[in-house]
Structure formats: structure tokens, C-alpha cells
Symmetry: C2
Subunit: 271 residues, 2 copies
């Protein structure tokens, strides 16, 4: 495990414009790779946009895992030796899924279906019932989940206990009012999840008002001590943040001579 | 349930000086009550200090739950109609406990024994094996746990699911280096715990270098949206922070038309 060059590309997908969204994602991936990134994280539902008018529009934007978006990311990963994590509106036959894929030079490594759906997503998507996958890669062990999943500490804990060094989370965080000078609560929870588990978390958010919805645009890369290594962006425009991450640091769960954040758990008392 | 006037009294106990520590706590309680507080939270191990040289010193500082510290707090609670939460070094017969008590005008309501011990505490204390208690009070439902317990999201979840409106946590957070302009990671995790569970959390920390150990002094009161209502203090001197808390807000777990932070949990997938 060497130092991992990680980038998150905050983008502004437009609902119902998959070809345009795919081109924007491609351009961001290429630019991040040109700047040295080897692990690239993209937002949730980056092919489709988010604020669907109805189920028909969601379905019209969806594509299977062997469709053009994942195909293009796989080709880029192979050509440039990248690992790409991004969110797609997935056509899974009779149902649609809010999915995050991990692709690398070997192609599609895993597809995770969002298990906790936010608000109107439940009108369009079938929730997943599988835990966040952890993939062994050349960089270390990488896991993924999607947006609202992050709000459940039990869910963040699962890939950490399964050995994840880095959790990559595509997000579309709708913006809520917050006090001046406060970090978004979504970012705070990512910081806490990273430090509680002593793992890296990269959350890649979106920007760009869509049908009246604004976004936190809080793209952030957090280290295992819970402090941001890059971001939070908190600017409402496409931007790429980057950090070099010693993922091996996430293998050290000791925090004092006698403490270890995993060994100190008392799961028999948590039921 | 009306608005609760809450105060946290950050103090600087001195190890091995229980009479002095008790007097300092008493003075802080009286001053906070004079200023209008009705719920008063004190630090961890406020009767004993923290950095014990050895087990004999810890035992010499310990007292039973019917000892002078809890007795004094009970008398003050009765006289002034207060609810007091504070940490005591407890003589529990053959073992010592790192305990948090809740007292009100009816006397000792509950004693919680810290279940997750930090570093050298395991040399002196027997960990508890009971979940954080939730006490029905005139102000609302109040729970307590101690310091390092807060670092386990599963543990914070338990009293929240049991209906706690306010979690009061005596702490002694040893200070670690952190990047400039960053909030202490301990405070960030309290913010996340509050917002993940939509409950109030009051963490009362200590200050005052003790045998070479410095403290975060990060006393903070956080609302159910995860933002501080008072603090974090982050000054290394005794200080009282206060906030008026509409504890009924913690009964509202809905966060969108279709979401509820408890109902959206999928515990069958968390095992």
C-alpha cells in the first residue's frame, strides 16, 4: 500500500440529460487523472440528475450496469489505470436502483444499491438489502455507500469492521439552512464517521440548482482522525478537490496505549 | 414539557483533593442556579480528579453513592429544585466505578457506570455492563453516559432509541493536537451523535492541567440539528455555558415528508 492520490469531482448533473452528464463526468475524470489522481470519486446519480418529475423520467434516464456510463468509466479506468467510484441511476430490470459502482482497470468490481432512501427517492427506486461492499484494490480496501446511507452510524460501521481503509460515498445532499460559520451537518457526520472508525471517507457531492433544489456542495475528503484533508468545498460550482492519503493509516485502530476503537467495542451490550 | 434552562459547569478538579473539589462544584452549581439554570451538568470524576498515581490514590478519593458528594448534590437539588448530572469516583465495595449520577428534588434517580474505559482507567475502575439509563423527569427524558462512551455511536443510539430527549455526558477529554481552526474531534462526534439521533447532548468537560495532562475543555451543548447552542468553550479555565432547550424538539424524528431518522433504520441489516 502506497500513498493514494485521491480526487473528488463535484459536478452539476442536469436531470434528463444523460449524454451531457456523461460527457461532463468524463471531462472531470480526465482532468483529475491528468492532475495525478488515481482514485476518483463522483457524485450520486451522476448520469441522470436527481429531481425526477416522475417515474417515467427516472426510467428514461436509467441504464443497466453494462450501459454507456459504467462502460465509459471502465474504459477510462483501463486506459489510465484509475479506480473510479460514482453513482448511477440503474435500470435493474423491473426496478430502478440508486447505485454506486466501483470500477478499476479490471472493469466493474462491485455495484452497491443504496439501502436508505431519501424522501422522493422511494417513489422511484427499490432499496438495496446488501451491506456496503469492501473491495481489495491495488490502493487498499475500498468501500462504497450512497448519501443518506452515511447518516446511519451502524451502516458506516459495517464496512469499517469489514476492513475498509477508504469509504467513497457519492452524495446529492439537499441544502438545508444552517447557522452562519457552521459546517454542514452532513460534513460533520462524515468527520465523525471517519474518526469513530479510524478510516478515510471521501464524500463527493453535487452542485447546481435543479428544479428549485439547491445542494450543500460539501465535497470533502476526511482522514482517520476526523479532520478534512481537502474541502469541504461548499461552493456551488463544479470543482475538484484532491488529497494524497496514506491509506495504511486506517489499519491502525489503536488510539492510546490501552485503547483500540474496534477492540473497545462491546457489541454484546449494543443489542 | 417546557423550555429547559440548561447549564454545564466546566471545572478544574484537583486529584486527591475531594473536599476542595466538592466545594468548587457546589459553588458552580449555586452560581448556575442563581443565573436561572434548572438542569446542571458537571464533569467526569469531579469529586476526585483524574490522573491517579495508583489504585490506592483512586480508592482514597472514592466515595459511595450515599457519600458526601452525591449527598450534597441531592440537598442542593431539593433546596433549589434542580436536576444535577455529574461524575463521581465511586466506591462500589470491592471495586471502583467511574460513575455518572442523576439527582433531582427526589434524590438520586440513577447511577450509571462507564462501560467503555479510557487508557489507565482500566487500572482503577471496573467497567459497567448496563446501558445508559433514561430517566423521566419534570423537564423531559434525560439520559447519561461518560466521556469515552460517547465515541461509540452504538452506545449513543441506545438511550436515543429508548426515548431520551437530552443526553448529559460528564467528560474529561485529554487534549490531543489538532489542526488550527478545527473543532476538537470529540465535539464533532457529539454534534454527529446529536443530529443522527435528533436529541440534545450536553457534554461537560474539565480544564486545568493535572500531572502533565491537558484537556480539550470543550464543554458544549448541542441541539438535535447537530449545531452548538452554547460552546464549545475551548478555554482552559472554569466556565459555565448555558442554553435554553426546547426538549420537545427531540420528540420529532421526521426530517422530510417521507423520512424519520429512527423509522428509516434497517436494524435487520446491521448485524
Amino acid at each position: 500500500m502506497s500513498e493514494a492520490a485521491l480526487a473528488c469531482c463535484q459536478l452539476a448533473p442536469r436531470v434528463g440529460e444523460p449524454a451531457r452528464n456523461r460527457a461532463e463526468a468524463r471531462a472531470a475524470i480526465v482532468a483529475a487523472a491528468d492532475a495525478g489522481a488515481r482514485i476518483i470519486v463522483l457524485p450520486e446519480l451522476v448520469n441522470s440528475g436527481y429531481v425526477f418529475a416522475d417515474g417515467a423520467e427516472a426510467r428514461a434516464c436509467a441504464e443497466p450496469l453494462d450501459g454507456p456510463t459504467v462502460g465509459e468509466w471502465s474504459a477510462l479506468a483501463r486506459e489510465r489505470d484509475l479506480l473510479i467510484v460514482g453513482g448511477v441511476c440503474e435500470d435493474d430490470g423491473p426496478v430502478l436502483r440508486n447505485t454506486s459502482v466501483i470500477v478499476d482497470r479490471d472493469g466493474l468490481r462491485t455495484a452497491y444499491r443504496k439501502a436508505h432512501l431519501w424522501d422522493r427517492e422511494s417513489l422511484f427506486f427499490e432499496p438495496g438489502a446488501e451491506p456496503p461492499p469492501v473491495v481489495e484494490t491495488a490502493h487498499g480496501r475500498i468501500a462504497t455507500m450512497v448519501c443518506y446511507d452515511l447518516e446511519f452510524p451502524e451502516w458506516v460501521r459495517l464496512p469499517a469492521l469489514a476492513g475498509a481503509d477508504l469509504l467513497c460515498a457519492p452524495t446529492n445532499w439537499p441544502r438545508e439552512p444552517r447557522p452562519a460559520r457552521e459546517r454542514p451537518a452532513e460534513v460533520v457526520r462524515v468527520q465523525a464517521g471517519a474518526s469513530s472508525n479510524r478510516m478515510f471517507i471521501a464524500a463527493c457531492d453535487r452542485c447546481g440548482t435543479e428544479r428549485g433544489v439547491d445542494w450543500v456542495a460539501g465535497t470533502v475528503i476526511v482522514g482517520p482522525d476526523g479532520f478534512p484533508l481537502a474541502g469541504p468545498a461548499c461552493i456551488d460550482e463544479p470543482t475538484t478537490i484532491a488529497a494524497r492519503c496514506e491509506l495504511a493509516q486506517a489499519r491502525e485502530k489503536r488510539t492510546s496505549e490501552r485503547n483500540d476503537v474496534f477492540a473497545d467495542r462491546r457489541p454484546e451490550l449494543y443489542a
